[in-house]
């Protein structure tokens, strides 16, 4: 027993020594990855304070020694750059539109090793006020505490981190439906054009060519299917994991490429059923994006339909650009048609295969 106790004491002593060294290192890098956003809503204005740790601010400024920001003099010496950092990192939105914030006095907060800045802005005539965050993202452990007071009452108490990116306050103001429609159509279009996997899936479906009727059938099948799962997932009725959906989207691209090579020999064209089947999968992918867009709870239906319209507009613009080009190419250079199909399909398979492996490994 005594020997065991001695052994524990020795190992504890060793552990303590190492701990002292390692904890010191950690503290130097960042031991308090916290920030605070405190707002007070008045009828015409929003005022408050943002408090950020000197380590985070120094990192954003590229300043080697955070301690230079711990004093009033240090803050004054870097005031312009600090204002730029706060303006860049503080993301307040009214109904999804980013708001302009005026920054006031900056003071050191010694007990928090932080800098505090006062903020003010005109209260937007929006039905939802959103605070996006966390304030800093260079460390994935960063957390931002958000408080919003209205008439002396804490209406919002939230914590923003990598798993929860938005705090929101329903202001009670009436929402403009036209604004919702415009915003979510724009988001739908934006999502298609920033997502190479969706574009490649659509291109893959077009490579084999076909009559206007055939292409219309393929596009309609895809649209019908993804509209169903987009609605189901957005309404929260079915929410499969992204770990499953993302690899399946990549797999759909591979399958479409293989189908093109298979159907080239004059076999039955299965693109419409494939587009329908995989449309369900892509719909879940669209929904995951839509859920991140601070959906207005009182205009959920409008937002959902508008986003879908945006997706369709983007898809149709791709179809109406690429399909005529491929058709024209086949008329001008009939020999190039099969070559474009094979090379294009192999490219689609390669890209889809790469994403499939990448997403499976990441999962």
């Amino acid at each position: 027993m005594r020997r065991a106790a001695l052994r524990l004491t020795l190992s504890s002593a060793f552990a303590t020594l190492l701990a002292a060294l390692l904890v010191t290192t950690r503290a130097d890098s960042h031991s308090q990855p916290f920030s605070w956003i405190d707002l007070v809503a008045a009828p015409d204005s929003l005022r408050g304070e943002v408090t950020a740790h000197i380590v985070d601010l120094a990192h954003e400024l590229g300043v080697a020694d955070p301690e230079v920001l711990a004093s009033g003099a240090g803050i004054r010496a870097h005031e312009t750059e600090l204002r730029t950092v706060f303006a860049k990192r503080l993301d307040l939105r009214g109904d999804g539109t980013r708001l302009a914030v005026a920054f006031g006095r900056m003071t050191p907060v010694p007990e928090k090793h932080a800098v505090r800045v006062s903020v003010a802005l005109a209260r937007p005539k929006a039905s939802t006020l959103e605070v996006h965050g966390p304030l800093f993202t260079w460390e994935d452990t960063h957390e931002t505490y958000v408080n919003l007071r209205v008439n002396g009452r804490l209406e919002v108490q939230d914590l923003l981190d990598q798993g929860h990116l938005e705090a929101r306050w329903e202001t009670g103001a009436r929402r403009d439906p036209a604004q919702v429609v415009f915003r979510f159509i724009r988001e739908g279009i934006h999502h298609i054009f920033i997502g190479p996997d969706h574009i490649l899936f659509i291109l893959g479906l077009l490579l084999l060519g076909g009559s206007l009727q055939q292409l219309a059938r393929i596009v309609t099948a895809f649209t019908l299917a993804h509209s169903v799962t987009l609605a189901l997932a957005t309404l929260g009725w079915v929410q499969p994991s992204a770990r499953v959906i993302e690899p399946l989207i990549a797999l759909s691209i591979v399958v479409v490429g293989i189908e093109n090579l298979r159907a080239e020999g004059g076999r039955r064209d299965l693109r419409a059923p494939l587009a329908f089947a995989f449309g369900f999968v892509h719909g879940f992918g669209f929904a995951s994006v839509l859920r991140e867009l601070s959906l207005p709870t009182d205009a959920l239906g409008i937002a959902l339909v508008s986003f879908n319209i945006g997706v369709e507009l983007a898809q149709m613009s791709i179809v109406l650009t690429v399909a005529p080009l491929l058709a024209r190419l086949r008329i001008w250079r009939p020999a190039a048609g099969p070559w474009v199909l094979r090379v294009g399909s192999l490219g689609v398979i390669a890209a889809g295969g790469f994403w499939l492996v990448q997403r499976l490994l990441a999962g």
Partner: protein, 280 residues
């Protein structure tokens, strides 16, 4: 009693791992309070009984309760982002217990790091299961919750020994401020948990029974570690004066497999033993 030099090395190679591998505990500003005193309790996260203050996250609170002459629900009383988890005036000299349980947060560690962390925390079941299913190369996806309790001693010992119903609870069965070796028990959803690794740290308090600054004080190794018996009990040598942290971790397959593969509960119990055995 188990301890090994190797485990110490592993433990401190793991110091740089994120939140899940860190202890989380509650502590009062001062381990002494009587009728009419205002008791302020804060939370801390770190390793080796050293760390940082962890502000209150209202969104994460599942339970926040104080036990004095009665059980008080403290949820909604603290301000989000504040350092104070609980602030209450003591109604009598019986002492107080404050308990906190968080919701689940998720974390993912590379396979090797996750396995080292399982070894460090003595979580043999999950480690063997990963080996059996040949999944040690896969990242460790975990959701974890904190279940902490602090006790400020007074005349009513039941305020320390009665369970408060946390998902995982470590608590004394007899007065650890009087006995040289005090029995503790670990309860999982109110039932004794056998085979759980319990560790204890001890450090001195200042002359006013206040803990030294948690961020600047030295880091320590545990003074005890051992596993609970079949009835969920373990006996700790608590003869040293000062502040004590007793902790235990339990891990099981996740109830939400979409979120994580494993689910852990981190329990802690803090108290202070006076320099001389207390007399009542």
């Amino acid at each position: 009693m188990r301890s090994s030099f190797a485990s110490s090395i592993v433990s401190f190679l793991l110091l740089a791992t994120p939140a899940a591998a860190h202890e989380f505990w509650l502590a009062p500003l001062r381990y002494q309070a009587t009728t009419g005193d205002t008791l302020v309790v804060r939370a801390f996260v770190g390793t080796g009984f050293k760390g940082e203050t962890k502000p209150l996250a209202a969104r994460r609170v599942v339970r926040l309760e104080a036990r004095t002459t009665r059980q008080i629900d403290m949820r909604g009383l603290g301000v989000n982002g504040s350092e104070d988890y609980a602030r209450l005036v003591l109604p009598d000299a019986g002492g107080a217990s404050v308990a906190y349980q968080s919701d689940f947060a998720t974390i993912e560690l590379p396979g090797a790091q996750f396995d080292a962390y399982l070894r460090l925390e003595g979580l043999e079941g999950p480690r063997r299961e990963r080996e059996r299913t040949k999944s040690t190369a896969k990242p460790g996806r975990e959701r974890y919750a904190r279940c902490c309790r602090t006790w400020i001693r007074g005349s009513d010992l039941t305020r320390a020994t009665d369970p408060l119903g946390l998902a995982l609870e470590v608590l004394p069965s007899a007065d650890p401020t009087l006995l040289k070796r005090a029995p503790f028990r670990v309860l999982l959803h109110g039932r004794p948990l056998a085979g759980a690794l319990v560790r204890a740290w001890n450090r001195p308090l200042d002359a006013n029974n206040r803990p030294f600054d948690v961020a600047t004080r030295d880091s320590l190794g545990p003074v005890y570690q051992g596993r609970t018996h079949a009835d969920g009990t373990v006996t700790l040598p608590v003869d040293r004066a000062g502040e004590w942290l007793v902790s235990c971790v339990h891990m099981a397959p996740s109830e939400s497999r979409v979120e994580a593969d494993w689910q852990s509960l981190w329990a802690s119990f803090t108290f202070a033993r006076p320099a001389r055995p207390a007399r009542r």
